[in-house]
């Protein structure tokens, strides 16, 4: 046995990856349901995706507040009793609000499902948005905001989004203290009526599904007003900032700076998107990337540095993000640009490219392990108006894209002058 010689491997790119197909049906009211039945554990996840994100709000913060308050009171149960109804069975009912969509989700042992669906139905038909709950929310939201504004990472995150998309855009908007003060239960009730009671909802259900799932879902959600209307996500123009470079002093005692370098990038429907996913990995997408190898593993400027594409539906951005020692922030930025230049001017070696391909395929194989993960892929495909060809084409790009094509893409996109550059100290 010679320890210097690596054991033989099967190249991950030789794997045939398959995305387990979903089952599809609709409820009596036309609500679409996607299901994946898989997994050894007796657990289930239900995600109710409403078209009720901040694209639809007329006042800042109303979409998020309405989504949050779904669990804060119906005419039959107060917030405590709603929480108790889920907690008693060890279940989790979460709310999350995004740009186009807002989600109400349930995670539970499958055996308890029938106790919990009626509670969700109640939240979706009979929420009352008590004034007292709003006041507590406002007070605590103000405190959270004050606390977050002391964190350079938080400030950097919201500023870079506002440069990329403009503050008037749902992707670039951020909350100020006065926006929290201005929230009202009246506005919530209106939003609830328009986008939940009479909104549009898509259901994603995965895990170990009970045999009568369809009947249970129909009983509780088949009469919801959802899907009565055609809701169309408004297209809102982005308004990117003119000025490209920013240095912001947030905390006089800071020992690190939060660096964000970002450029607008098209959405998943653009032919370059799947190809750039490979280039991004090579550049800064994983631990073995160029940025990480140089800036962390060689220079020790940071604990971690990554690049990624924003997960937005309409318009995206390519972002490089790191926290670096205050005295090495400028040196870090210089190295980021150097790595862009190398990608533009020098073809990646086949060894390194094979590593990236294998790493990405191996990662995908691991990511598809388990019903929730499989459904997450499908959800992404459905909500972005794509089909399964997107999944297989992406894999094909990972396996076959050439070094020349990657260099061309670097020459198309990776120019420092296209990027906003921000450091928050």
């Amino acid at each position: 046995m010679n320890r210097k010689i690596a054991p033989p491997i099967k190249d991950a790119i030789e794997y045939k990856l398959a995305l387990k197909p979903y089952e599809y049906f609709t409820l009596d009211n036309g609500m679409p349901v996607y299901t994946i039945h898989a997994g050894a554990q007796e657990v289930i996840q239900i995600e109710m995706v409403f078209y009720a994100g901040n694209h639809f709000e007329k006042q800042k913060g109303i979409a998020a507040l309405t989504n949050f308050m779904l669990k804060n009171g119906t005419s039959k149960r107060n917030a405590f009793q709603l929480n108790e109804a889920f907690d008693y069975y060890g279940a989790y009912c979460n709310r999350s609000c995004y740009n186009e969509t807002a989600v109400l989700s349930l995670h539970t042992l499958t055996k308890h499902l029938h106790h919990l669906l009626p509670v969700m139905e109640e939240m979706l038909t009979d929420s009352i948005f008590p004034q007292s709950e709003l006041e507590i929310y406002q007070q605590n939201a103000q405190q959270r905001l004050t606390l977050n504004l002391q964190k350079a990472e938080f400030v950097a995150g919201r500023l870079i989004d506002s440069y990329l998309y403009g503050e008037q855009h749902p992707y670039g908007v951020y909350t100020n203290p006065e926006d929290i003060d201005a929230l009202t239960t009246e506005a919530c009730k209106t939003f609830y009526k328009d986008y939940y009671l009479n909104g549009k909802c898509v259901l994603f259900v995965s895990g170990n599904l009970p045999a009568d799932l369809r009947i249970q879902l129909n009983n509780h959600f088949g009469k919801l007003g959802s899907n009565n209307q055609k809701i169309i996500v408004p297209i809102i123009e982005t308004l990117p900032a003119i000025e490209k470079k920013y240095r912001i002093e947030n905390d006089l005692n800071a020992v690190q700076g939060a660096i964000r370098i970002a450029s607008p990038f098209p959405n998943r429907h653009h032919p370059d998107f799947k190809k750039v996913a490979v280039l991004n990995n090579l550049f800064g997408g994983f631990f073995g990337s160029r940025l990480m190898s140089n800036i962390r593993e060689d220079k020790g400027y940071t604990y971690g540095i990554y690049s990624y594409i924003h997960n937005h539906i309409q318009q995206s951005a390519w972002v490089i993000s790191t926290e670096a020692g205050k005295e090495v922030c400028e040196a870090t930025i210089e190295e980021i640009y150097k790595e862009m230049k190398t990608l533009r001017e020098k073809k990646v070696e086949e060894d390194e490219l094979l590593l990236v391909r294998n790493y990405m395929i191996g990662g995908l194989l691991g990511d598809l392990d388990g019903p929730f993960q499989i459904m997450a892929r499908w959800k992404n495909i459905v909500l972005n108006n794509l089909d399964e060809a997107y999944f297989y084409d992406s894999i094909n790009e990972i396996k076959t894209i050439s070094a020349e094509a990657l260099m061309e893409l670097a020459n198309k996109y990776l120019h420092p002058e296209n990027f906003y550059e921000l450091v928050v100290y």
Partner: protein, 413 residues
């Protein structure tokens, strides 16, 4: 029921194999029985720094990450006060790559000076990012020093000071490796789409020839019982006042651990928990409040931490909190409330066990506690806890003399 086969190699390495044919992946998890508690008080943060150095090349392999990535794998590691755990996941056909990599770094590190230099800097940036450049970042630094007078839990995993990390030498690195990174101080778990018999052969091949080294004999000074309340008041540049109260609880293998664990859920587990309902929702004295413990191997801590609502005096918040603790001690809990937190535990375990990576880590951790099969009996231990035990433990734990309190006050108000 999690099935596995366990055996010990001649050099003392404990090995556990768990088959799961439903996944295309395999996980290799190597746990070393060394954590921050085993450090020299003058060289803290070393176990964690060492974790970084384990990726800086081994005797026969210049870099760890690349061959693993080529094999479609990914990996990470973490260090706690008790242990250091390394794990990688890769397509099951390529499992030998992971065994080759893990066995070589168990055999010997490369002890590269460059790696030490760079990782010292990286860890210093990690220290700054998480513990200095964040409001309340130094809370546990201060709390540990207040609560523990004797036990090495008195410093954080990241280390007591940046200086200790900056001063680490290559000799320190070698000494630490020889003392702790031996087969007899390690547990190897292999999980996923593997054949047990074939895997045993591979393990013998790659790990069997590593010299056993000396078994590290842990003799830590134990924390004496706390006999009087402790207080600390800090003023700092944070936006709101925060209250921290910590009580000593039990070791992880103590029978009373389960009641203490359930008490944290009764008080602080989610939207229907007692403290959230009484203090955030009804009295509105706190904007957030949590109750938790770290599940540490040696006698641990039960902590309640809360951020005060605007304009509320911290003493008023503390008083109201004490009333809630008192209520638990005096009035106890209903059978339904106990059932609720047991259900929560059952559900949390089921979700955790979904991933083969989590299962591998759990097997290793329970084996470290004495027997991997504890993983399968754990739920019944929780189910056995009675209402009476909850009351009894709440009376024993929540006493003034057992408590350390920190006021972390805003100097902006």
């Amino acid at each position: 029921m999690i099935q596995f086969k366990s055996f010990t190699l001649q050099n003392g390495l404990r090995v556990l194999i768990h088959e799961d044919k439903s996944t295309p992946m395999a996980v290799v998890n190597v746990l070393y029985d060394v954590g921050a508690r085993d450090e020299d008080p003058a060289k803290t943060g070393f176990a964690h720094l060492f974790e970084h150095l384990m990726f800086g090349g081994s005797k026969n392999i210049p870099v760890y990450d690349e061959p693993l990535q080529v094999a479609g794998g990914e990996n990470n590691a973490f260090t706690t006060n008790d242990l250091t755990n390394y794990y990688c996941q890769l397509p099951a056909e390529n499992i030998e790559t992971a065994l080759w990599l893990e066995s070589d770094r168990m055999l010997s590190l490369a002890f590269s000076k460059k790696s030490l230099e760079v990782q010292r800097k990286v860890v210093c940036e990690e220290f700054k990012e998480h513990y200095i450049n964040k409001p309340y970042g130094d809370v546990w630094h201060k709390l540990r020093a207040l609560i523990y007078t004797t036990h090495p839990y008195k410093w954080m995993t990241i280390g007591a000071s940046l200086q200790h990390i900056e001063e680490a030498t290559i000799e320190d690195v070698k000494g630490f490796f020889n003392k702790h990174y031996t087969p007899s101080n390690a547990i190897l778990v292999i999980a996923g789409n593997v054949e047990t018999e074939k895997t045993i052969q591979l393990v013998e091949k790659w790990f069997g020839t590593i010299p056993s080294g000396e078994k590290y004999n842990r003799q830590l000074p134990q924390e004496p019982p706390q006999l009087a309340p402790r207080h600390l008041e800090i003023k700092s540049n944070v936006p709101v006042d925060a209250l921290y109260k910590c009580w000593h609880i039990y070791a992880r293998t103590d029978n009373r651990y389960y009641a203490a664990d359930l008490i944290t859920d009764i008080l602080g587990g989610g939207g229907s928990s007692r403290l959230f309902q009484a203090l955030v929702k009804e009295k509105q004295l706190f904007s957030s409040i949590d109750c938790y413990h770290f599940g540490s191997t040696d006698a641990g801590l039960l902590t309640i931490e809360g951020k005060l609502a605007k304009g509320v005096n911290i003493k008023e918040g503390e008083k109201a909190l004490n009333i809630e603790l008192n209520k638990l001690q005096q009035e106890g809990i209903s059978a339904a409330e106990l059932e609720k937190v047991k259900n929560k535990t059952e559900s949390a375990m089921a979700f955790e066990d979904m991933s083969v990576m989590n299962r591998a880590a759990s097997i290793a951790m329970y084996e470290l506690l004495g027997d991997a099969n504890l993983m399968n009996t754990e739920l019944s231990r929780y189910h056995a806890v009675t209402v009476e035990e909850i009351i009894e433990q709440s009376r024993i734990i929540f006493t003034e003399n057992n408590c350390s309190t920190m006021y972390y006050l805003s100097n902006n108000q």
